[in-house]
Symmetry: C2
Subunit: 144 residues, 2 copies
DNA sequence: GTCATCGATTAGCTATGCTAATTATTCTCT
DNA sequence: AGAGAATAATTAGCATAGCTAATCGATGAC
């Protein structure tokens, strides 16, 4: 049982680090001029490709009506477009426009560069410790 | 310059991992019955101790009026209490009640146990890779 | 002691979350 | 094939959470 306790302690620290990390980079999002929920949804469609409203809502952990309105706003801002799914005409497929993809990627870049500026405090050895851990973290977080 | 590019690549992966991690554990918060903004503010006062409304707003990256209403709700739910700062009677000090601290810690526990259940897929070696990286990550994220 | 400044709140707006109800399409089943 | 159930999205209406501007009381500067 000692092992389980140690795993929980590790989970706790990893969890706290993730919170602090995202709190830190979130400051950069103001520069994008897009509201947070819209930015987050846009990131799913930019990196994941066209997706139904239902699946997008699931990915963002919100209900379909909420996502419907967020997509309304993205369309109004010219960042995404709906089209009817010809395989199931009840459904709608949501895709990013070129403008949406560009904006999202710029914002992501700002966040990443900002985070990188913090990582640059570390020496070569510390950076490779992180690189080595990332594979394990990614594997652990796979959906089951 | 190769080094800077590598650091950015690392930052990108770390950033994505943090997003996925928090998206994963967030599902557990529904069980707490507390709205997200309130839960997040509560966590700051539980772990950081009494704090002024202004500083709490800063910590949560919101404006004072927003935080004032969140604290209203926390007080109504019996999770936090305001008291006047006797060193500066304009200011207010916000502290968690016992109930608030208990609830927050239970919620945190749920998140951490849930994350730990994912980490338990990893073997001893992978877990120590993460443990070794955490120190470096924590150091990098220190406010400057 | 007066006046500017500062912390918190109130008022009023927009955005984002929800459930319930509606509409259109698809699926099931005889 | 057609009736009815199930499903995808939207609309309506509510609560929560974000903002700025304006206000009130306490503090600080001079």
């Amino acid at each position: 049982m000692t092992k389980n306790l140690a795993t929980e302690e590790l989970a706790d620290q990893l969890h706290s680090a993730a919170i602090r990390l995202l709190r830190l980079v979130r400051v950069q999002d103001a520069a994008s001029g897009i509201a947070p929920a819209r930015l987050s949804a846009l990131s799913v469609i930019v990196f994941g490709g066209p997706i139904s409203l239902r699946d997008l809502a699931k990915a963002e952990q919100v209900r379909p009506p909420t996502m419907s309105r967020i997509v309304d706003a993205l369309e109004t801002q010219g960042l995404a477009r709906r089209r009817i799914d010809q395989k199931d005409r009840r459904a709608v497929l949501i895709a990013a426009t070129k403008k949406g993809a560009t904006l999202l990627k710029q914002g992501r870049k700002r966040r990443v560069k900002f985070l990188a500026s913090y990582l640059s405090r570390l020496d070569r050895v510390e950076l490779s410790l992180i690189a080595d851990a990332l594979g394990a973290i990614q594997r652990a977080l796979q959906p089951r």
